[in-house]
């Protein structure tokens, strides 16, 4: 049986629509971009072949390293925080309580709201003089800060806002995953006298792992490409370039300085890093995932 299915080319019938469109509009452009990354090109003139010139320049560029470090910082803090908080909220929402639909909707509203509107509001919140955050901190007699203009605090402020914005998305996915866990398992555990923590540790966490794996992988891929909120909230890479992330860096190179080949080289280095992380997730972490 297993052998017979190894040669199962019929499966490609199911994959065909997706694969054809992905290859045409998403895979081929990647190869095209890869080719352009070996050229110097300002989009208007004739591209000039420079070999690995763009890449060797990139690896000598301190600003690129800085942006890479900032991106890793963003990803390493925002992904676990977002998973932690969304799991807690999803578990709260998974109780048989009233007004559940209302809560689900409320927690989802930041996801619905466009990033433009959200960025404007958070700029007000973080404002050094009139911002809500400083006003709240004043109650606890904490000194006001210029959050988005402070090289130490600009990135945490962006991370905080991003976690807030994306929370509802993960909550919904966790909630769907939690509802797939058979209730009788918990009943059996309770009869055996398992504590809440033990129930979480031995039932919820392992059975939720396909969902957690999905969220972790998707969030990692997404957080390495953080752009909009950085662009909107800290123009020009923030104080002392403390919020200069890779995609913003390549955006500036491509669309402000018109070094298109160089920008695509940066995009490819980022691509390789994300690809390596995802491959690690798929080959190593997915072994720990519990599928039925």
């Amino acid at each position: 049986m297993a052998n017979k299915r190894k040669k199962d080319w019929g499966a490609y019938l199911y994959l065909m629509p997706t694969v054809v469109i992905l290859v045409a509009f998403h895979v081929l452009p990647i190869f095209y971009s890869l080719a352009v990354s070996f050229y110097e090109w300002d989009l208007i003139g004739q591209p000039e072949y420079v070999g690995v010139g763009n890449y060797s320049r990139l690896f000598d560029d301190p600003m690129f390293y800085k942006s890479l470090w900032n991106t890793v910082y963003y990803a390493a803090v925002s992904v676990p925080l977002s998973i932690l908080f969304s799991l807690i909220i999803a578990m709260l929402l998974n109780n048989p309580i009233s007004a559940i639909g209302l809560y689900r909707t409320i927690y989802f509203i930041p996801v619905i709201t466009s990033i433009n509107a959200v960025a404007i509001v958070w700029n007000f919140i973080y404002h050094p003089d009139f911002g809500l955050l400083n006003k709240i901190l004043a109650i606890f007699s904490i000194d006001p800060r210029a959050w988005l203009q402070d090289p130490v605090w600009a990135m945490p402020a962006i991370i905080f806002m991003s976690v807030w914005k994306g929370l509802g998305h993960n909550v919904i996915i966790f909630l769907a995953g939690l509802q797939n866990i058979p209730r009788h398992l918990y009943e059996a555990a309770r009869i055996d006298g398992a504590s809440r923590w033990q129930q979480f540790r031995h039932i919820t966490w392992p059975l939720l792992s396909p969902t957690t794996f999905f969220i972790f992988t998707i969030s990692t891929i997404g957080s390495f490409q953080v752009f909009s909120q950085v662009y909107m909230m800290t123009p020009r890479g923030g104080p002392l370039k403390s919020t200069m992330v890779v995609v913003y860096y390549l955006y500036r190179k491509a669309f402000e300085q018109f070094e298109f080949g160089y920008a695509l080289a940066a995009a490819f280095v980022l691509f390789m890093i994300i690809f390596a992380c995802t491959l690690f997730n798929k080959l190593y972490l997915e072994k720990k995932v519990h599928y039925s």
Partner: protein, 321 residues
């Protein structure tokens, strides 16, 4: 069934309500601002200092940027001249008082918004339904079959999510113009009919379905396609609804792509329409917020209704073993 309003859930409610306030207030601020006049917005919170940075055109137009700065300078000059005039003369200029819905009326008149809405609804619904169908087929294959190059195909698919959109805009645009699709609905729809995210999402849920069910059904002579639409699809309605919502939102909110591939007003979608408020003669915060509220409100209401559906479908799927 569960009895509602258990007193032991009071702490859960307290936590959820605190969280709700935190999640909601920017939205409330947006609605509040949509009812304010430009003066009110600018004077009650002097933090306008921060705003002009957000007012720049959102995408790659160096010329527009300089034009905007020039315009700003002229506006500032005009404003200074205005200040120099005597108070009595200035008061004469204010004719109509501000009404509550002025921003909404202004927003609706400023753009062919109904057209933008129709375009957005058409594109979003087409993409969401077709891509959901395609993705469920692919995810079914990934979850239940063993085929050559399975892992390689999966990684290729995930790979399409890893290169930043910004880097792919130029090659995609060149390709679309070779196909002659620039300024057509095809450009807005076809590239998004396949979604690696959706395939990955559904694969994770399909993998949680019992495998022995598949073995048993195929031994009993059920074809693979029958198993897909008779067993897998009905069982995964909750996850399909969730994914449908995500897909709907992603398309409803997509901005950069439609901006690049269309420039015909008749083909514009609402997110592009929204951006007009910030690129023409500075940002008109009131109308912008009014228009944002109008684009978000249908989603909030739609989501509220859809999630009820999705709780119900959750209750009726019997697969809990």
């Amino acid at each position: 069934m569960f009895k509602f309003k258990h007193p032991e859930y009071a702490p859960v409610h307290v936590l959820l309500i605190l969280g709700s306030i935190f999640m909601l207030f920017p939205f409330i601020w947006m609605i509040a601002t949509s009812f304010k006049s430009q003066d009110e917005i600018l004077t009650t919170s002097k933090s306008i200092v921060l705003l002009p940075d957000l007012a720049r055109p959102s995408f790659l137009n160096g010329e527009e940027e300089t034009a905007r700065i020039e315009r700003k300078k002229e506006e500032a000059k005009a404003w200074q001249a205005e200040q120099a005039r005597p108070q009595a003369e200035r008061n004469k200029k204010i004719q109509a008082p501000f009404h509550w819905f002025d921003n909404y009326l202004f927003a609706l008149k400023a753009q062919p918004f109904y057209r933008f809405f129709l375009n957005t609804i058409f594109v979003t619904i087409t993409v969401t339904t077709v891509s959901l169908f395609f993705a469920s087929l692919a995810a079914y294959a990934f979850a239940f079959f063993n085929f050559p190059f399975k892992n390689a195909m999966f990684m290729m698919m995930l790979g399409t999510m890893m290169l930043p959109q910004q880097a792919l805009l130029i090659p995609n645009y060149i390709f679309l113009s070779k196909l002659g699709w620039v300024n057509t609905y095809m450009a807005l729809i076809v590239p998004w009919l396949a979604s690696a995210y959706s395939v990955f999402f559904l694969r994770q849920f399909f993998l949680q379905l019992p495998k022995d069910l598949f073995e048993a059904a195929t031994i009993d002579g059920c074809t693979r396609f029958q198993f897909y639409y008779k067993v897998v699809l009905p069982l995964s309605i909750p996850s399909m609804v969730t994914l449908g919502i995500f897909s709907f939102l992603a398309n409803w909110n997509s901005f950069v792509w439609p901006l690049i591939v269309t420039n015909d007003t008749n083909l514009r979608v609402i997110q592009v329409g929204l951006s007009y408020f910030s690129s023409e003669a500075g940002t008109r915060w009131g109308p912008l917020m009014a228009a944002s509220t109008m684009t978000i409100l249908p989603l909030v209401i739609g989501y509220f209704l859809a999630q009820k559906q999705f709780v119900e479908s959750q209750a009726t799927t019997g697969m809990k073993e």
